[in-house]
Amino acid sequence: MQKTYAFFPGCVLHAAAKEAETSAVAVAKRLGINLKEIPGWTCCGASHVQDIDPETALLANARNLALAERMGLTLVTACSTCALMLRQAKATLLDGRLDWANERLAEAGLKLEGTVEVRHLLWELADGCDEWAAKVSHPQAHLRVAPFYGCHTVRPPQVMDYESHLNPQSLEKVIRACGATPVTIPERLKCCGFHAVFPAETSAHRLTASAVNSAAEAGADCLLTPCPLCHMQLDMYQPDALSTACGDTPVPVLHLTQLLAMALGLDAKAIGLGRHIVDTKPLLASSGSA
């Protein structure tokens, strides 16, 4: 694994999903990885700004990419939508918009060559699995974990091309390396509904409930997602989703790096396991994590 990255946390890791940042940073520290936050990074547009003002979104991401490129490091993000927006922006810029963007970036003394790599933290952890697996001190052998990839982790495959979008295995690989058992649910590659939770609230809640109910039926102890937006939807909105769709068994939802942190024996409080809407204590009781 590369040891130093230009880290793009994304807005929610500084807000409602702070525990995703805390756990990512804690895991990185334990694994000897340096996540250097990109100074001055901005919102990626979250696919929403792109819809009403694509040039503003493209320029904001050209700036984000230029800031990372200036650090001479690979950009890594812990959010799937950020990863997609940044990778999509890079592809668009390299496809004939680079000069246009650079004329404007010059106003802030920036220049983008387009050489910066944009990676999802999941990909780095899956690639580095053999290296860090040896550091797993608290194998989570009691946990049956249902992976939930999140749309933007794998789609569209033209942009998110790390692994097969039809049958990705990176999350399963991480789960096994943590000593836990992956449990497949039909919603593994489905949408959580997050991006339309306001305009299509009922649909979003039914999608969320569907994943939660399947995980409960499959006997999973928790859902695991590499995307903090999926996490917000599956965890924060889970009570609303279950009441919309008549589910009665709440299922805790872990961030990717929280499972890893538990397997590395990191303190539960330090990785924000108490900052969840759906209680994560049952996971700790069976896992034996401190």
């Binding site: 001055g40 040039e55 039809l166 299509a200 900052r275």
Partner: protein
């Protein structure tokens, strides 16, 4: 090589069942040549639709292992690379009513397509005598969308449509609306957008299944985005969809980052934020997802501006000159 095994979802109008067919592997076979082989040699009762065998007519789209593809344009050996040499499950397109076996009903979908007002109503400066001139770059802007062959692959795994088709259309309908709305020759682009706005345009989940499944590389999600942009620029800025998007843009410009506390009132209004969303807010406080002091600060003031926020403003200003 091992024999091909197809498990085909059958339906005779009353009963449905999954039927197994096994036949010898031959290199170079497409899904369609396999279906034809089954019908001609193993089971003449199997129903499917196909015509051109050249990925032009769009008649032969089916699902293999749950994912839509054009049967005539997909080599079975390629599918084996993805799924292994075991049985392949072949089903009719998703989000469609099945008539028989792999044949789905299109009547209602074509009626819904009419909502896009498909057809070009040219600007007044054009005439039958002079024709409709278009600059190459303007043609390129809509060229991709014109490749749509109405195969239905984009609708098959659309997550929004799977939940409900009452408030959302087949993704290709938005593609068709966008290709007229974005046409530089179009007299009134809004006439193609307005029905889409009433029929789910802001309810797309961004699941990206349509982009992923289109055999022609078209992005119906991109078409939806361009229709949203058209609507927004035409002043259609009310409603949770546009207001939500605008809240993100406001935060990006004002401080650089999202203000989650202001997001709900900006999207739904203060009344909804203070009443409907109250239980949600209270449990956020109770579980420590959000601190009341931090929430109050974000509501009254805002996020701190990002480093070199002035630089960001200059970049965006330069683009608006």
């Amino acid at each position: 090589m091992q024999n091909f095994i197809f498990l085909i979802d059958r339906f005779d109008g009353t009963n449905s069942w999954r039927q197994r067919y096994e036949f010898p592997h031959k290199p170079g076979m497409t899904v369609l040549t396999c279906l034809i082989h089954i019908k001609e040699n193993l089971d003449p009762t199997l129903n499917f639709t196909a015509s051109c065998r050249s990925a032009i007519c769009g008649a032969c789209a089916v699902r293999v292992n749950g994912n839509a593809l054009l049967a005539c344009d997909t080599m079975v050996d390629d599918l084996r690379e993805q799924w292994g040499d075991g049985p392949l499950t072949v089903s009719p397109l998703g989000n469609a009513e099945v008539i028989s076996d792999l044949v789905v009903k299109w009547d209602e979908k074509v009626n819904r397509l009419r909502l896009a007002n498909p057809g070009l109503h040219a600007k007044k400066e054009f005439s039958a005598h002079e024709g409709c001139r278009q600059a190459p770059q303007d043609m390129q802007a809509i060229q991709k969308q014109w490749d749509c062959i109405l195969c239905g692959s984009c609708m098959s795994e659309c997550n929004k449509l799977s939940d409900s088709s009452k408030d959302f259309l087949e993704p290709f309908t938005y593609t068709h609306a966008a290709r007229y709305a974005e046409d530089s020759r179009s007299r009134n682009p809004l006439e193609h957008m307005e029905n889409m706005e009433k029929s789910g345009m802001w309810k797309c989940l961004h699941c990206m299944e349509c982009v992923t499944k289109c055999p022609k590389g078209i992005s119906p999600a991109g078409a939806i985005a361009s229709l949203r942009e058209l609507a927004f620029k035409a002043g259609h800025t009310d409603g949770p969809g546009p207001r939500h998007a605008d809240a993100f843009r406001t935060d990006l410009e004002n401080t650089g980052r999202l203000n989650e506390v202001k997001l709900v009132p900006r999207t739904e209004g203060m009344v909804s934020a203070a009443t409907k969303r109250l239980p949600f807010t209270l449990r956020m406080f109770a579980r420590g997802k959000l601190g009341p002091v931090e929430a109050a600060r974000l509501f009254v003031a805002d996020n701190h501006r990002v480093e070199d926020h002035d630089g960001l403003k200059r970049i965006l200003k330069a683009n608006r000159k």
